[in-house]
Symmetry: C2
Subunit: 346 residues, 2 copies
């Protein structure tokens, strides 16, 4: 891997323990959720026994933990623990946890060092790389956050074995996205059984993109393909108490935004139909039942990517290529939503 | 001024209006407190009429506003206003307000542009320069924050005329500190009637220091002289509902930390006595009545500057020079506190 701070291994955490030996932190804090507490933490502590002394902070899994109240409680706990800049904050979990934990660590005492140990496919292939942190504001996804890079990321493929199928699909959605925006070959020869290779390629693309544009000024925006309508669907579904995962909403977003790309003649009809076919065969539809167009429109206007009141999208320019800062009229979004609803009832 | 992004003027805000013309923000939000709302905002809007359309967010003056609940409300208001990266967030106020407003703007949607228009001497000479933002966590000063630079700082000396004497003293305390850590000549010829010159020199020093060490790794730590015990005193006084200003607590901190410097033989007895004489003649004592040594010790251990459980101070090495990362035993702190109490009763 080009980037020295991302380490891959299978079983053992040898690189992690040598990192600990080199850095000599005074104390360790590990953020877990109820899943990683039982399924991942024991293995981690066996591999790195000096973590036996670590303080454990437990948070609930799921998007609702990305809340300011949860962050504030973590800060209070850090203060009670007398954590400081000689403390290493370890995020052991999926994308929700690494977003939340990175946010807390990067702001506590103006920043204490943190690392990510991603335990889901989504976090390995996407969330743990790129240095974004965030919490949600009410139901606005990632409304508050920053750009803050972990000291290192340790990917251990063994954690994939702990995941249910739904969590694997959640991560695959982002890898399909990477193929669509950046890698036509990967899209063509997408081999789900070679999952370690998929993770490698996804991270490689992401590092290249983030290096060129760390703070989302231009190129990095292509990563938002599927995420503008996807975030709206995700936020509104969660607000209605529905159980939807990020990757599931992103698949819905990609299908709708591919329709917009087609409507704007950036994508051919054949390419659009191929994307719909592949994605709908592979992934379940997200129900938009009871979610109104007005609600989606309101969420889009409040999206980070919108600017000066106009809707900004990253759209496909053929399979494997993506253009950012594409202005889109609301009427085109509405058509894409109607088409998605039609497909899901068809 | 060496740094192009700090602008000085007296009456008129010509530089500010030309900045607005150049940058072409889509919308403006102004954060004020009840004082700057009535005393400063009208003058600002007269000078820059395009701010008539700006949304006004009002917060209460005083340290208690540097709270996560206040920040969260500001984020909700920004979301209601559909603020985005084409919105300019303007902080019109003192150090509390620029700390809070910088914090909110730098994290909202992972950062929208902001400027400071400092209205107090403290904010002009110190707080608005250097790119630190923060809120407090319960009574831990600046426990949560980041390094985030405003687009520009506009200093208009006319605002000094709106300030009561206590606020002027509040700012002078930080300028005395700058003299003690960096500028023996300034300490010797401190001319309070040449206040604009004091501001210039203070900012010049601060910019030099911050340029060499933006993120508090080494040199910048000298700015913490007086602030380790000062923050403890400030936090504990506020927790007890007492009305104490930052500069007042910092003067108490400087006297105590000068005593530690003397006890560690970094400062001669004559220099120590000169510092005590000048500062106690000029500033009132802060009451430590009812604040126990244990409370102060607990606050020190939780201070950002402490590390690995040891107390770290920036101490004077003669007048005009300062050494950072000086380990200090608690017993020396306690002696300094007792001596301060003795002086204040004497």
């Amino acid at each position: 891997m080009q980037d020295h701070f991302i380490h891959f291994e299978t079983s053992g955490f040898k690189l992690l323990t040598s990192f600990f030996r080199k850095q000599r932190y005074r104390s360790y804090v590990i953020l877990v959720d109820e899943n990683t507490l039982t399924k991942c933490l024991p293995r981690l502590i066996t591999a790195a026994p000096l973590l036996k002394e670590a303080a454990i902070i437990e948070t609930e899994s799921g998007e609702t933990s990305k809340a300011i109240e949860v962050a504030t409680n973590i800060w209070r706990t850090l203060s009670d623990l007398q954590a400081d800049r000689s403390t290493l904050f370890i995020n052991l979990g999926g994308g929700v946890l690494t977003d939340l934990g990175g946010f807390c660590a990067s702001l506590y005492k103006r920043g204490i060092p943190f690392i990510h140990i991603p335990t889901t496919l989504l976090a390995m292939a996407d969330a743990s790389v790129g240095g974004k942190t965030a919490i949600d504001l009410d139901h606005l996804k990632n409304a508050v956050g920053n750009f803050s890079r972990p000291e290192a990321v340790f990917v251990d493929f063994d954690f994939l074995l702990t995941l249910p199928e739904r969590q694997i699909n959640n991560g695959l959605a982002e890898i399909y996205k990477m193929a669509l925006i950046r890698d036509a070959k990967l899209w063509k020869n997408f081999n789900e059984s070679a999952i370690e290779d998929l993770i490698f390629r996804s991270i490689q693309h992401k590092i290249q993109i983030v290096k060129k544009d760390p703070s989302d000024k231009d190129l990095r925006k292509i990563l938002n393909f599927g995420h503008t309508l996807g975030h709206a669907v995700e936020g509104l579904s969660l607000a209605k108490g529905r159980d939807v995962l990020h990757g599931e909403a992103v698949v819905a977003g990609m299908i709708m935004e591919a329709h917009i790309s087609f409507a704007k003649r950036l994508l051919s009809k054949n390419e659009y139909l191929e994307i719909v076919k592949r994605l709908t065969e592979r992934f379940a539809f997200v129900s938009l039942e009871g979610i109104t167009s007005e609600e989606i429109q309101h969420a889009l206007v409040n999206d980070k990517k919108s600017s000066a009141g106009t809707l900004n999208f990253s759209l496909l320019e053929g399979i494997g290529a993506c253009k950012w800062d594409q202005k889109v009229n609301w009427s085109l979004c509405e058509k894409a939503i109607i088409e998605y609803k039609r497909l899901s009832h068809g």
